[in-house]
């Protein structure tokens, strides 16, 4: 992801400046350990991204994808996942039956999602071979 690490490193720098400002100025500064940990975590995440993908510190538009992109048009599974999570949590408060029903439909929706993803991969393979929908 081109440029992806730049905002994270910038974020870490801003956090560092704010922590130093807090430490210099305030008689009750935030915990040094917590502030250092926060800065280190943000920087570490940015550096890890940089090391894993060197283009993440390069500016410019993303590289053009060489392969066809999958653009799903409908997904019954995704809608069902959202509804079943809502149903399960609603059941947590309102009625135990809905909790079990929600969990059951969540499992079924995840199965349906797996089928959708498999068919999407097949569609991409066909598109790569130039025989499928484009």
């Amino acid at each position: 992801m081109r440029g992806g690490a730049i905002p994270i490193l910038a974020w870490g720098t801003i956090l560092l400046v704010l922590c130093i400002g807090n430490w210099v100025w305030n008689d009750k500064p935030v915990s040094g350990a917590a502030a250092t940990a926060a800065v280190v975590i943000v920087y570490a995440f940015g550096v890890a991204l940089w090391v894993a993908r060197p283009e993440s510190v390069r500016r410019g538009p993303p590289d053009s994808p060489g392969e066809p992109e999958a653009v799903p048009q409908v997904s019954v599974a995704a809608a069902a996942i959202g509804l079943s999570v809502g149903c399960a949590l609603f059941g947590l408060v309102w009625s135990e039956f809905l909790l079990y029903f929600g969990v059951g439909t969540l499992v079924a929706s995840l199965g349906r999602l797996a089928i959708e993803l498999r068919s999407e991969r097949a569609s991409r393979r066909r598109a790569l071979r130039g025989t499928g929908p484009r």
């Binding site: 509804l83 609603f90 999602l113």
Partner: protein, 549 residues
């Protein structure tokens, strides 16, 4: 770029309304979230009207104290979790892929799951009205220990907690998909500093959603456990811990509810001024600084607790003035020398900047701990945040609606009805919220269902209630405008305003994969304006050659 459409569309054979509910097209999802948000806006508005009727005169007893608590809780919660924030995400979801030349949303299935999770959250929250004891009643912030199982027993508050968890989780997922789209699906040559102004404001908003909303989910999961015997938020430190967690979400969300509308107003101003947005790079830096600072100011909501470092948070809160000033400077800079057309979108955009200024300036006062000790818990705070959250969002939202309605539907909204709506909303907003500064200064506390007869309070409250009615009239005119404009369509064409950004390069409404024609060359954040200027230059050169020949 070649596109492989997943075969689910062909295999499932889903049509009609059901197809809209399971569609992973970012435009349909954006419209679904937008339509549901608008419904919740009307619902929250009804709650507000009921409250204002109760407060119209001293000691009115239209609703009980308990019902009033539920009304202000559900009004704030509905407006924040179910209208302003999701509407901002809906706009980002609809427009950003178009503005960056993408064929769709990254992680579209995830976004659809997020959409339904958010909608379930809204319905679960409202379900509280049917629970014994009523809906949630601890305010939109639901402070612990007030909201624990002992102080607020009942299913209604539990439903509120679960509803907000679902809504926040759903919005986080949708925002993450928009973020991934900006990172991965920008058109060739669309570098970060060539993204349109609205895309930048949307990007910064979704960054804040992804950074801050999980904290709210965490805070409320812990609150749910606490309510059911977990004893998590106990004692003074427990109360402070809850507030720290809540406001770490609660302040960035203010800017989530502001930035996309700022972007919409900025686009309307630039297009209606026939100029590119002035000071683009400074603007981008300023909103990034705004976002970073917004996550460093949360404890200014907690000055009076004595549990936070007031000086530090006063400093960071006041520092927000600098990026805000840059944004205003850029808006004025865009207007200066522009060929201005006062369309409804432009008028809403200008009003947005003026109205938000009142909220922003009053924010400087409450950012100072000394003044906040005086203002805390009074109507001054209510006035301040309604000028920022209502005026600062709604006027920008309507600027965006009038600007992009022709793109979304292919038809114009009626300008005359739009201007009538604007007039009603400006009068209503100021009549409702400005007297609150005086009431607050006079010591009227917020969140009271009745107040005693006190010199001046009855008159000012009556004015506010009349103002709320005028706002409602303005919203009614807007709904009529939409109905009239959709039933008696005035075709708008693909680019009726001579827009600057890529969404105006496609048909209205856009096709399923957004662009059927090749994208124009992208050399700046206003590629269509660049094209037009090049054509003008070429025409001028031809004229000069002809005249010299």
């Amino acid at each position: 770029m070649s596109v492989a459409t997943a075969p689910t569309a062909q295999h499932t054979r889903i049509t009609g309304l059901l197809a809209a509910t399971v569609s992973t097209d970012h435009k349909r999802m954006g419209l679904t979230v937008g339509a549901c948000s608008l419904f919740f806006f009307l619902l929250g508005g009804v709650f507000a009207l009921l409250m204002r009727t109760q407060l119209a005169q001293p000691d009115m007893r239209l609703v009980s104290d308990n019902s009033y608590n539920q009304l202000f809780t559900m009004h704030g919660s509905t407006m924040i979790y179910l209208f302003v924030t999701p509407m901002a995400i809906a706009m980002a979801m609809y427009l950003i892929p178009l503005q960056i030349g993408a064929v769709g949303l990254s992680g579209a299935r995830l976004a659809l799951a997020g959409l339904w999770t958010w909608l379930c959250g809204g319905l679960v929250m409202q379900q509280g009205w049917f629970a014994s004891g009523g809906a949630g009643r601890d305010g939109w912030s639901s402070y612990a220990p007030l909201s624990n199982g002992t102080n607020t027993p009942g299913v209604g508050q539990d439903l509120w907690v679960i509803g907000v968890i679902l809504a926040a989780a759903g919005m986080t997922v949708m925002a993450a998909c928009v973020l991934a789209t900006v990172a991965r699906r920008r058109a060739p040559r669309m570098s970060l500093l060539r993204m349109p102004v609205f895309t930048w404001t949307g990007l910064v908003s979704v960054l804040m959603v992804v950074g801050a909303f999980p904290i709210l989910v965490l805070a409320l999961v812990l609150l749910y456990i606490d309510r059911h015997g977990g004893h998590i938020y106990t004692g003074f430190t427990g109360a402070i811990d809850y507030q720290d967690l809540f406001w770490f979400f609660g302040h960035p969300v203010v800017y989530v509810m502001f930035f996309p509308y700022l972007g919409a107003a900025a686009e309307a101003i630039a297009v209606c001024s026939h100029k590119r947005w002035f000071g683009y790079t400074a603007f981008v830096v300023s909103i990034m600084a705004f976002a970073a600072l917004s996550m460093s100011v949360w404890s200014h909501h907690m000055y009076v607790t004595g549990g936070v470092t007031n000086q530090y948070f006063a400093f960071t809160s006041t520092a927000l003035l600098v990026p805000a000033g840059i944004e205003y400077f850029d808006a004025v800079g865009t207007l200066v020398g522009g060929s201005i057309v006062l369309r409804t979108s432009m008028l809403f955009a200008l009003t947005f900047f003026i109205q938000f200024l009142i909220g922003g300036l009053s924010g400087i006062f409450v950012a100072s701990p000394v003044l906040d000790y005086q203002a805390y818990g009074t109507y001054i705070v209510v006035a301040h945040f309604h000028y920022t959250l209502f005026a600062g969002s709604i006027f920008g939202f309507f600027a965006g609606v009038y600007h992009w309605f022709p793109k979304i539907t292919g038809a114009f909204l009626r300008e005359s009805l739009g201007k009538l709506q604007l007039a009603l909303m400006v009068i209503g907003t100021n009549l409702t919220f400005f007297p609150m500064f005086f009431l607050g200064n006079d010591g009227m506390p917020r969140r009271i269902s009745r107040y005693p007869t006190h010199p001046g309070w009855g008159t000012l409250n009556l004015l506010e209630s009349i103002g709320a009615g005028i706002i409602a009239l303005g919203v009614l005119v807007f709904l009529i405008n939409i109905l009239v404009s959709l039933r008696r369509r005035v075709p708008a064409g693909d680019d009726p305003w001579l827009g600057h950004t890529l969404e105006w390069a496609t048909s209205s409404p856009p096709p399923p994969l957004n662009f059927e024609r090749p994208l124009p060359p992208i050399r700046s954040y206003a590629p269509l304006l660049d094209l037009r200027l090049e054509e003008l230059d070429r025409a001028r050169e031809r004229r000069e050659v002809t005249s010299s020949g």
